[in-house]
Symmetry: D3
C-alpha cells in the first residue's frame, strides 16, 4: 500500500519478484496527503492507511507492506489487522544493521532528519545509525528524470561514508526506486564499496517470508483496538479468517 | 485541549490556578475516539487535535496543553502551530526525572505499557524509567467513584516502589485527577514517601512559564508543513500573529 | 540562591515575574569560590550552598533555585531540605529536550565541556544533547558589556546548529542573562530559527509551579542525612514545618 | 551450513521452501565441536566454518546461512566470502524486534545467557531484549522426543512473557525445529498470544531475498583479509565470480 | 587517604602489599563527616579531601587512593593534583567489568543504591551493572565482629546472583575488608562460584601500576583550577615537581 | 602470550617490571596468522591461543596476558583456564576510562575501526569512546624505525583530541611499544597534554595485581567447557591446581 493520494507506481517495478508463491497488489489513499514529508503528513495519512489495510486483509492479502520510509501508522495498523505488516523504513534499517557496522539514510529533505533519527531510536537501532543526510529534493520533484537526483545521492552518500563512518547506505524514499545498483557501481568506482538498500523489494520479500513461515506481529504488543465510538470516521470491520 | 470526543472535564479542577496572568479554556474533539487507549485511538484523534490547536491559536491562545498521557499528535501539532504545545505525558516524565532517580508510570491498561516505554525512549528518558505498571481500569470506567481506583493505584505504586525501584510515581491518565495528594499520604503511611505527579496542573503551569518567558518549540525541529493537497480533510489556516 | 561569593545580581532581572503568588529573594555565599568554573569550585561552594538552603527554608522559602549551570550541591541540598530545589542547569536541559530534538549548551570555558556532558548523562538526557561548545569567556569577564560576548555566542550557536545538529540552544551560564531573545532574533536573520533558553526565569517559574502544586523531590531518592559528627562545619538545623 | 561435526539434519525440514528460485544444500564440519554450547566451542568451529563457506561460494552458492544461534565466525566469514552470509541468531533477533516491543530468547543452557546478551548488544538490539532464559537441556539431548522439551519451553516462555515483559519468543537453538507453531498454540491457550520464531526457515528466506535483490554485506565493514602466512591451516582460495 | 574523621584503619591490613617498590601511608580528615553514607556526607568531606591530597603530593606521594566506595571529591582532587588519583569505587567497578558479564555492588544502606547506580552511569558502566543491593548495616556498626555482617553479605550476594544475574560481586564499603575470600568460599559451597572484590588492595596495586608506568589522569579532562578568591578555606599550594 | 606466529618481542621491553614478586615468560603461536589485522586473523589465532594458555597455566603461570589489542580468544581462554586472563585491549580501555572523560584508540589500519568500536560496546565502554582512528601502517611494517610512525601517531592523536574530543589516547597496537612517553611530550609541546597509554606494561601489572589479591575471572560468566568430541584439534588438558 502506498500511503499517499498521489498514485506513485511501485508494483510495476516489483513485478519481477512475482511467482507461484507471490502475487502483488497495490493501493493508494483517497484521503490524506499528496506526499509524506513531515509528521503532519504522516498523521493525515494515518486513518486511511488503517482503513486500507483492513480492506486489504478482507480482500485476502497475506501480508501488507506500507511503502513509505516514514512508516506512517505502522503500529496502529498492526493493532488493526492480523496479517503481518511491514514498513519499508523499519525493514530497511534492520537489514542495514545486518549488512555492516553503521548505516546512513539519505532522506529527501532536511526536515526529515530528526524524524528518522527518532525512528531509529524507536526501533532500537540508534547505535547502528551513522547519520541521516538530506539530498534536498522534494518527493514530488523526483519524477522521471533521475540523473540529477543521482548526482546528489552519490555526493551525499560519499559524505556519509567518509565523514560519518557509514558502511551501508539506505535510500530514504521509496521514490529512489531502481537507483540502488547504479549507486553501488558509482560508489565502487570512487573506492567506496558499500551496499545501497532500496527497501521496497526487500520488504516485499520479507513480508512474503513472514507469510510463508506463518509468522505475524505480536498481538500482545499490538492488541486489537477495543470497540468504542469513534465519530467522524467510517472504519471497515475486519473479517475473521477461517 | 482534551483529545477525545467524550467531554472529560479538567478545566474546572484547574480553575484555582487561574489569575491575572493565566486564563484557561478547554475544548474537546468532534471527530475521533471516545477515549484513548491504544495507538489506533491516538491515530484517529490526530487530525482533529491538529485542527483544534490551529483554532485555539487563532482564537488567541498563548500556549496549548494536550490533556492525554499518550500525547497524541504532539509532534504534528508543534509543526502546525507556533505557540508552545506541551503534552501531559512528556511534561510529567521530565518533572519526574528531576524529582528522583527513577519513576514509574501507573497506566490504565496492560496494553499501554509498551506505548509508554516507547515514549520514554522517544523523550530520551529511558534510563530514568523504573517501570510502567497497569492498574487495569478502562478510562471510561474511572468516573465519579475514585475509591476502588485508589486502592488499585496504591497497590500498584507500592509494587513499583519496592519491586522496580521507583522513587517517583506518575499518574498515567489525566482522569486520575486529584488523587495525587491522597496517594502520597497513603504511601507515606506505608513508609513509602514518594512524590505522586498528577500532570495536568503542572503542565498548565509549565506551558504558562514558556509563554511568560516567550519561549516556544523549535521550528527547526518542527518545521511548518509545506502547502500541498490533503484531500478529505478541512484544516483551518493558521493566522499570522502581529 | 547564587552559589558564589561574588554578588552576581539576578533577582532584579527577574522581578517582572513577581506577583501575588510569587515573591523572590536572593542570597550569595560568604565562604566558597568567587565564580564556578570547575569541579573544584563546585566542591568548595558545596557546604555553604547546603547551609544557605537550610537557612532559606527556615526563613520561609517555598522553593529554592540554585542559580549556576553547574548545579553545585544539588543532590546534597535535596537531602538537606524538604522544599523543592531546582538547579538552572538540570531544568534548562529538560525544557530543551521538550522544545526540540537535540540541544547544545554554550558554556563559558573549554574546561566545562566534559562537566556538562557528564551532567547530561547524569540527568539521563545524553541522547538529546547535540554538543557542548565553549565561547571561551571567563565568568568574571562577562560583566556589563555584552556586545562582544554576543558575537561569540552567535558564532558558537551557529556552529552548534549547522555542524552538530542542534535545534535548541541553552545558554550555559547564568551570566548570559537577557541575551536569549536578541540571540533568537539574530539567529533567525541567519535562517537558523531556534529557541534560546536563558534558564533562570524558566527555573524560577518551574520551582513556583512545584510549590503551587505541592510537589517536592522524593525523600526516597534524597533521604535526610543521618545525624552524626561532622567536625569543622556549623550547619544550621532544619526547622520542621507545621 | 551447520557449524558442528554432528550431522544435525535441517535441510529436510526446510525442503518445502524450495522452488524454482530457491535450492538448498547443507554441509557440516569435519573439524570442530560436536555441538556449540560455549565461546570455546564457537572458537573451535571457526576455522572450518570459514573454509566451508569459501567452498560453498566456490561451488556456486548465492547466499550462505550459518545454522547456529551463536552465529559462530559470522564476521570472519563475511570477510572471507562475497555472497551474503546470515546467521540464524542475528536474523531472528532483528525479526523479533520488528514483530513486537521486546523479545526473549529461550536458550539451551544457563551458560549461554551471557553470550546471547552480549550478542544482542553487538547487534545494537539490547533495548529490545527482554531476557535470555535457559531451558536447561543440552543440545545433544534434544533429539527425537520433543515432548518433554516442549513442556520446558512453554514454562520458560510463560515466565519470559509474564515476568520479563517479552511479547515475542525466539527459539534459541536450531534444534528446536518445528516447535514454533505448537508453542504458539499452547501459549494462546494460556492467554499469551505471542509469535514464536524458529529462525532457520526465516533466515533461509531472508538470505534468498538478499540474493534475489543482489544485496550483500558491506566490504567496507567486512574487508577481504590480506594475504599473509597463516601456518597450520589449509584455507581454500576464493574464486572470483565472473 | 580515608575521607572520614573516624580513623578507620586500612593500611595495616594492606601492609603485606608493601615491598621495595611500594610504600603506603594513610591519612584521615580533621574536618568532615565521621562516615560517608549520603551525598551530603560526600559534600562535607570534599574540601578536606582535596587539601589532604595536595599535602600528600607535596610530601612526596607518587599516587593517591581515596578509600571510600563513594569516591568523594574524586574529580576535583584530580583537578587539584598531578599524581594519579584513584577511588576504590571506580576502580572496583572497572575490574568487575573485566572479570565477568555483570556485577552487583553490596552497599551498606538502602540510601546508597541510587548513588552507586548514578556513579556506574557516570563511569560509563551501567550496562555491566546487574544491581546495587543494600545489606542494611551502617558503616560505624561494622566494627570488629564480622560474623553477622558476613551472613547478610552472603544472603545479599546470593540474591544478586540468582535474581539479578550478577556473576561478580563488589563489596560496597571499604569496611568489609578481608571478607572477600571467605565470601567466595561460602558462595562456592552454595554452587555460586563468583569473584568477590574487596577494592582497597586492588586499587592500591593499580595506583602503583600507574605510578610505575608514569601514567596519570588527563589534565585536559581535569585541568588545574584557576587561581581565584575562595574565602573561608585555606587550601595548601601544590608544589611543582622537579 | 603473543597471539601471532611472528615472534614479536615484548618481554625484553617489560623486563624492568620484574622483581621478587613478578616473573615474566613469553610465548608465540606455532599455528595461526603472522599478524592480527582482521576478524579472520583473530579467528585463526583462536585455537592455538587457548591451547597455549592451558600450557602456560600447566607450567605454573599465575596470570596470563594476551598481547594483542584485538584480544583474540579472550572469552574462550577464560573458559579454558582458571588463572586470570587479561587482554591488552580491554585493560587499556578500562584504564583510559578512568584517566579522562573520553579516549581515542589509534589503530593500525582503517579496517580495524569497526572492530574496536564493537569491542568498546562489548566492554560496556561505548560512552567513553571518542573515536577510533587509523594511522594506516600495517603491523609488520612497524619494525625498528619508529620515527615515521611517530609523526603519523602524533598527527592522528591531534585530530582525535581536537576534532573528536578525546582527552586520553590509547595506542592501538602492541607494536607501538615505548612510544607513549615521547608522544606525551610531543603532544604537550602542541598544547595538548593528555596521557598516552601503551597497554602491555599496564596490563602485566594489572594481571599481577589480580594474582596478588587472588582474584580471577568469574567461572559463572566463563564456565569450563563441557567435555565433548572436537575432532581435528589436540587440546592439552588443564591440570588441577593443588
Amino acid at each position: 500500500m502506498v500511503p499517499t493520494t498521489t498514485k506513485f507506481e511501485f508494483a510495476a517495478g516489483l513485478s519481477h519478484l512475482e511467482g507461484p508463491d507471490l502475487k502483488l497488489t497495490q493501493s493508494h489513499l483517497t484521503r490524506g496527503p499528496a506526499s509524506i514529508e513531515c509528521e503532519y503528513d504522516e498523521l493525515f495519512a494515518g486513518p486511511e492507511v488503517v482503513a486500507e489495510a483492513i480492506r486489504a486483509q478482507n480482500a485476502g492479502a497475506d501480508a501488507i507492506v506500507i511503502v513509505c520510509m516514514g512508516d506512517p501508522a505502522l503500529q496502529a495498523t498492526r493493532e488493526a489487522v492480523s496479517v503481518p505488516v511491514l514498513g519499508i523504513g523499519e525493514t530497511a534499517m534492520h537489514y542495514a544493521a545486518m549488512l555492516g557496522h553503521k548505516f546512513s539514510i539519505l532522506c529527501t529533505l532536511d526536515r526529515r532528519v530528526g524524524n528518522y533519527e527518532t525512528k531509529a531510536r524507536h526501533f532500537g537501532l540508534e547505535s547502528k545509525l551513522a547519520s541521516v543526510r538530506p539530498v534536498n529534493i522534494p518527493v514530488l520533484d523526483i519524477g522521471g528524470d533521475h540523473s540529477s537526483a543521482l548526482d546528489r545521492l552519490i555526493d551525499t552518500a560519499k559524505a556519509a561514508i567518509t565523514e560519518d563512518g557509514a558502511d551501508v547506505i539506505v535510500l530514504g524514499c521509496g521514490c529512489f526506486q531502481d537507483m540502488d545498483r547504479i549507486m553501488e557501481e558509482r560508489l565502487r568506482e570512487l573506492g567506496l564499496a558499500v551496499p545501497v538498500i532500496d527497501s521496497p523489494p526487500l520488504t516485499v520479500l520479507s513480508a512474503a517470508a513472514l507469510a510463508r513461515t506463518r509468522l505475524t506481529h505480536s498481538k500482545r504488543a499490538y492488541p486489537t483496538p477495543p470497540a468504542k465510538d469513534r465519530p467522524g470516521y467510517e472504519i471497515p470491520t475486519l473479517k475473521e479468517r477461517g
